[in-house]
């Protein structure tokens, strides 16, 4: 495939791997966190760990939108979906996320709820147009990449004067989550988690630009390299991070310059600002309540806000006690450290959210990398 295969070239990968191996300082280790689930997936799927020296360790971050959605919000959606006559539209991965008592949207669907998988927010608007007598709710999740399309859907619904369309908004913000991790006691005081640098977000950065990452580099003295989701992007970013660390630099570098600018997509940002505003606080699975880390629908678009229309109550549901998703999402633990991993918790029967999406650290490790533990 033109324009894609170039970024998956095995020979080039070997070159970069050789450079990394040559340049790493054998007397130290490099703990690098990839924030995005897309990077986690690429690292697992292409077997990047096999190409890295033993002292370069990748730590999976919380950037998987399905994983960080707290069980309470999933439970809200399940209850909503059971409203007679209501159609709930959501992205595919969400269907299998477990909430209370092992219930999921997929199981609710099997019990008669009308839950429909859509590929885009526009499909949800179309379903609302085709079913004027029924309430249609779009269960919106995701980071800055999926937020503009939700804003477009709301604007479109307004333009079409759709009375039966609303959005259950769960959009979250990447920079707040990174700050939260960097400020966590595990990093700041206890030294539980060694974290030397970040592979910065890919698609998210196409929207918000590289500028927001500058704060992390300056304030926390952690180098950030923004990188695309292709495996060569990831390899190159690792090499760039190794170089920054060797030279004692903490800067934002942009490996993904083919798509990311410093300012990002201003038009998309303005659209988001037009429709959404900051929530004071939002609960993340694994991270707990994170201040100013999510968006809600502005008052002027309140008629499209499912939270208001259906008076969705705040719900907090504790994760399974043995589930380590929280620690895994903060990078403190590896999937193999969890007692449930690969035993009771598998992609076919996920207990924690990290086992659901292929971008989740546990699912990626289970599906692609578990031969390493077996060896």
């Amino acid at each position: 495939m033109k324009y894609v295969d170039e970024f998956r070239d095995g020979a080039l990968a070997k070159n970069i791997a050789a450079n990394i191996a040559r340049e790493v300082d054998p007397h130290r280790s490099y703990h690098l966190m990839e924030f995005c689930g897309g990077h986690t997936h690429a690292i697992s799927r292409y077997g990047i760990a096999d190409l890295l020296p033993a002292n370069v360790r990748m730590i999976h971050g919380p950037g998987c939108p399905v994983c960080v959605l707290p069980a309470g919000r999933v439970e809200n959606a399940i209850q909503l979906a059971q409203t007679p006559g209501l159609i709930l539209c959501c992205y595919g991965d969400l269907l299998r996320v477990p909430a209370a008592d092992g219930m999921s949207l997929l199981k609710a669907k099997a019990r008669g709820a009308d839950v429909r998988m859509v590929y885009s927010s526009a499909d949800a608007v179309k379903i609302a147009q085709e079913n004027p007598e029924r309430q249609v709710v779009f269960f919106a999740i995701g980071f800055e990449t999926t937020t503009p399309p939700t804003a477009v859907a709301i604007r479109q619904a307004q333009a079409l004067d759709l009375k039966n369309f609303s959005v259950f908004c769960n959009h979250v913000l990447t920079p707040s989550a990174i700050s939260h991790i960097l400020q966590s006691p595990e990093i700041r005081q206890l030294g539980v988690l060694a974290l030397d640098g970040f592979i910065g977000p890919a698609h998210v950065s196409t929207v918000i630009g590289s500028r927001p990452c500058e704060y992390f580099a300056e304030e926390f003295q952690k180098p950030v390299v923004i990188a695309g989701f292709e495996p060569l992007d990831v390899m190159q970013a690792i090499l760039m991070l190794v170089r920054q660390l060797n030279e004692g630099r903490a800067e934002v570098e942009n490996e993904f310059s083919r798509a990311v600018t410093r300012d990002g997509n201003v038009k998309a940002q303005m659209l988001v600002a037009e429709v959404f505003e900051l929530r004071r606080v939002f609960e993340w699975r694994g991270l707990g309540p994170v201040p100013y880390s999510a968006l809600r629908i502005k008052l002027q678009y309140a008629s499209y806000d499912a939270e208001l229309r259906f008076q969705i109550p705040p719900l907090s549901i504790a994760d399974n006690k043995a589930c380590e998703c929280g620690a895994i999402l903060r990078g403190v633990k590896h999937p193999r450290d969890c007692k449930l991993f690969g035993t009771v918790c598998t992609p076919d029967n996920p207990i924690g959210s990290c086992m659901v999406s292929s971008e989740g650290a546990c699912a990626a490790h289970y599906s692609y990398g578990r031969f390493r533990e077996a060896a």
């Binding site: 095995g10 070997k14 096999d50 859509v118 992609p347 699912a363 990398g369 031969f371």
Partner: protein, 349 residues
């Protein structure tokens, strides 16, 4: 005074007519549907006997039998339809034992209101597929369910075949050191069906690969009688098929990504749909496992057949107590190629 035509039945309206409940009731309407559609299309000596069962002589040797239900949506897709798919699917399941398929049965569950024109098109496609394959449909059944309780038409076919002397092809016979071959381009069927799904329509030149593979299998068995395993990677794709075999044979497998035959268009479609071609269904491909010294001969026999022209050796069987199917990625790393989780494409066959 006009004469009443004795025994006159107005012919079925295959242009505008629709299936109704009487077509499954066992009465005259059902008999008419059978006479005017199924018997005409499938015509053979067994059906012509008009019994509730087909009678045929027993052949000596080991017989195999397989059954497959087809619920594909949409019913018509680029390169085929539920009709030919239901014939090919069962012929292939029978053929994967190395058997020569002999007879098929067909059971139809029709939804009230289904256009007779579509039914005719499907039945004629089945008849063509059966005729081309040389495997007659010798018995059948039709039921009608109320509107809303089916999805147009579901078809179940059962096949019987006979395994030649000396052939022992079975899922538990993969041995460490064996080579893994595939007969051609992977993922065509799944992508062709996906391209028509209601919320996803995209334009592609990819057609379903639906085909009867018993001819290819016969050529392969002639070249290498001791093929260890044959299986057609339908639902769940090659990844799922190899995982099944690895478990059955208690072995591991190592694939080489660079050797997998996959069309650029299929790769591209999978890329933007977020699918992995290894999990996408095929309906006219097979995976074969044989001893390493037989692999080259088997490959040549496959490539000499029109349905195996893109055949390739894609990996080998290894020892592994965990029965993992692994892959050396084109990128230079290694990964597990796991069982399919959940469903990748709903209702593809």
């Amino acid at each position: 005074m006009s004469t009443i035509k004795q025994n006159y039945t107005r012919p079925l309206d295959f242009k505008h007519g629709r299936v109704d409940m009487t077509h499954g009731s066992g009465g005259r309407a059902m008999a008419q549907l059978i006479d005017e559609l199924f018997v005409v299309a499938f015509d053979n000596e067994f059906l012509r006997q008009m019994n509730d069962q087909a009678r045929f002589p027993v052949v000596s040797g080991r017989m195999v039998m397989s059954t497959d239900s087809h619920v594909v949506s949409p019913l018509f897709f680029p390169g085929g339809d539920i009709g030919c798919l239901s014939v090919h699917g069962t012929i292939n399941d029978v053929a994967m034992s190395g058997a020569r398929p002999l007879y098929l049965s067909a059971g139809f569950i029709l939804e009230e209101g289904f256009p007779l024109a579509d039914l005719k098109r499907i039945v004629e496609s089945m008849a063509r597929a059966a005729r081309d394959a040389g495997v007659p449909i010798v018995t059948g059944d039709t039921k009608v369910v109320e509107q809303g309780k089916g999805d147009g038409v579901f078809i179940t076919t059962t096949g019987i075949g006979v395994v030649p002397e000396g052939v022992n092809i079975s899922g538990e016979r993969a041995r460490p050191g064996d080579k893994i071959l595939v007969s051609g381009m992977l993922g065509d069927h799944g992508v062709a069906v996906m391209s028509l799904r209601e919320n996803l329509t995209f334009h592609t030149s990819i057609e379903s690969d639906t085909a009867a593979l018993h001819g290819l299998v016969a050529a392969m068995v002639a070249a290498v009688p001791d093929i260890h395993v044959l299986r057609d990677p339908t639902r769940g794709g090659l990844a799922t098929t190899l995982n099944e075999i690895a478990r059955q044979s208690a072995v591991g497998m190592m694939l080489h990504e660079v050797k997998l035959p996959i069309r650029e268009q299929v790769k591209a479609a999978c890329e933007f749909l977020g699918l992995d071609p290894l999990y996408v269904a095929n309906e006219g491909k097979l995976a074969a496992i044989c001893a390493p010294e037989d692999a080259e001969r088997l490959l040549q026999a496959m490539r000499a057949h029109p349905l195996g022209s893109d055949a390739a050796i894609v990996g080998e069987v290894i020892e592994d107590p965990h029965h993992f199917v692994q892959m050396e990625t084109a990128f230079g790393g290694r990964r597990v190629v796991d069982w399919l989780t959940g469903e990748q494409l709903p209702r593809i066959c």
